[in-house]
């Protein structure tokens, strides 16, 4: 178990170095409600893609990203009320990967809630993940906000149960982002019925925050920046005054507003993905509102990755991105414009060259 011991040692080293450092890369934003006693923050870590090589060896690069997010999250003052992990803890859903990821996450102080990602799911359909982290979809209430967690990365039963000779092959086929043999993500009938039932009991003035792995909006089908039944899920959320959907999977900053629903993506701790417009053969619909993250510099292996903490100011989600090797970003809900916007770069004239993707 050399790797795990090393990880522990390095983790302590990283945390120590950060604690001593005079400039912490962290500033704090609180959840602002009318009642200040109700203010709170939570942290969001996602897409670690812990990748098993062999025996006790894991891809060092991805390990480092997650270890750093955990160390920095623990430095937040005041402490976040809880931590979300947004899915894709593993690369190929194996026990060694999920165990190794869980071991790194176990250093987090406080409660952690998990979202299922396709890289966690398609080997054993979430069986081992459930043993470690609990049910695949659920809801909870915290200080006046109703939180819902969906497993949005399911797909057609034919694809899941009939198409592939082995579970390993099924996992590999879904793991390739650009694999044409893959299949579109969906929440599915069973969960949508559960969601309707869950939301029926909630007052329509209650702020609702939905966590999913894939975007509950349609951006680019070719890379599954997409959920097939997104429109039907949005319809269930439509009666509420304030709704935020927060998703992982895309490894980049995206945000949008559709009616009453604000959409925000979170960053990955593993590696960044290109914006779909960087694929010359693709037709895609990146929300016009989104000011992209900077183009990644591959020579800094942690560039264009990071984690975030979230402020649900008066029921709307504000995202504070901690970006390794890069300037932090804040995407905040604008109460007058009724949509999320970047605190610095939203105006066309305020944008910088590295935000141009081609």
């Amino acid at each position: 178990m050399n790797t795990i011991n090393n990880s522990r040692r390095n983790f302590i080293k990283t945390a120590g170095a950060l604690a001593i450092g005079s400039t912490l890369p962290i500033s704090l934003v609180e959840l602002a409600f009318a009642e200040s006693s109700q203010n709170f923050t939570f942290a969001y870590i996602s897409d670690a893609h812990i990748q098993h090589i062999k025996d006790n060896r894991f891809v060092r690069n991805w390990d480092r990203g997650l270890i750093r997010a955990v160390a920095e999250t623990n430095l937040l003052v005041p402490k976040p009320d809880f931590v979300m992990f947004g899915g894709d803890l593993a690369q190929l859903g194996s026990k060694p990967e999920l165990d190794h990821g869980a071991q790194i996450l176990s250093a987090l102080h406080g409660d952690v809630h998990h979202v299922m990602g396709e890289h966690d799911y398609y080997l054993d359909l979430g069986e081992y993940w459930e043993k470690l982290f609990g049910p695949q979809y659920y809801s909870f209430d915290h200080k006046g906000v109703h939180f819902v967690v969906l497993n949005s990365i399911k797909t057609y039963d034919d694809w899941t149960f009939k198409r592939w000779p082995t579970a390993e092959q099924r996992m590999l086929e879904m793991a390739g982002l650009d694999n044409p043999n893959s299949s579109p993500f969906m929440v599915g009938d069973e969960q949508r019925l559960w969601l309707k039932d869950d939301l029926d009991k909630i007052d329509k003035d209650t702020p609702v925050v939905v966590f999913s792995h894939s975007p509950l909006q349609k951006i680019y089908k070719g890379w599954n920046f997409w959920t097939e039944d997104a429109d039907q899920v949005q319809a269930l959320l439509e009666p509420f005054k304030k709704v935020s959907v927060i998703y992982g999977h895309v490894h980049q900053i995206q945000y949008n507003q559709i009616g009453n629903i604000s959409f925000n993506s979170v960053m990955a701790t593993s590696w960044p993905w290109p914006y779909p417009q960087a694929y010359a053969q693709a037709e895609q619909y990146l929300p016009k509102l989104t000011v992209p993250m900077n183009r990644a510099d591959p020579f800094f292996e942690r560039d264009a990755t990071g984690w975030q903490f979230i402020n649900v100011a008066n029921g709307n989600a504000d995202l504070n991105f901690t970006l390794y090797n890069n300037t932090s970003r804040i995407v905040r809900y604008n109460d007058k414009q009724k949509h999320p916007e970047d605190a610095v770069y939203q105006d066309e004239k305020a944008r910088i060259v590295p935000q141009t993707h081609y």
Binding site: I53, L177, D178, W271, W273, P274, A278, Y279, A280, P298
Partner: protein, 134 residues
């Protein structure tokens, strides 16, 4: 007739005798055949691009570059600020093989390197050449 002319004449006769094609004359079938040759190398490149075996840690090129996006073959050769000089695409591919993939670099004329470049460039077809662009 000079010696050179004699040799040239002999060569011409030799080619005529073996029925070799004339330069600059090719058919639609030839064009299709050449395209198929190219596409089969593109296919090999796609295999390598998505393969965990190119490096040593199981990481594949496609993990960060789905459909070879964000590789920008149309901008090479270009000044790579991190290396401090102008490089062709294959040197940047080797940088990736050595670093994120923790593997060995390939020779410039290695069929695998040619296949990788064929695939990357094919995915970028239709985009205008902008050598040097950052």
């Amino acid at each position: 007739m000079s010696t050179y002319q004699k040799i040239a004449m002999t060569l011409c006769l030799a080619f005529a005798a073996t029925g070799s094609a004339l330069a600059d004359e090719f058919t639609e079938a030839d064009v299709q055949r050449w395209q198929q040759q190219f596409m089969s190398v593109v296919g090999e490149g796609r295999e390598l691009w998505t393969s965990p075996k190119l490096g040593t840690n199981g990481v594949a090129c496609a993990q960060c570059h789905p459909n070879a996006a964000n590789t920008h073959p149309e901008t090479y050769p270009k000044f790579q600020k991190q290396l401090g000089r102008v490089i062709p695409l294959w040197e940047m591919i080797n940088w990736c093989l050595k670093n994120p993939l923790e593997g060995q670099p390939l020779a410039a004329d290695d069929p695998k390197m040619i296949a990788l470049q064929a695939y990357v460039t094919y995915e970028r077809r239709g985009v205008k050449l902008e050598p040097g662009k950052h």
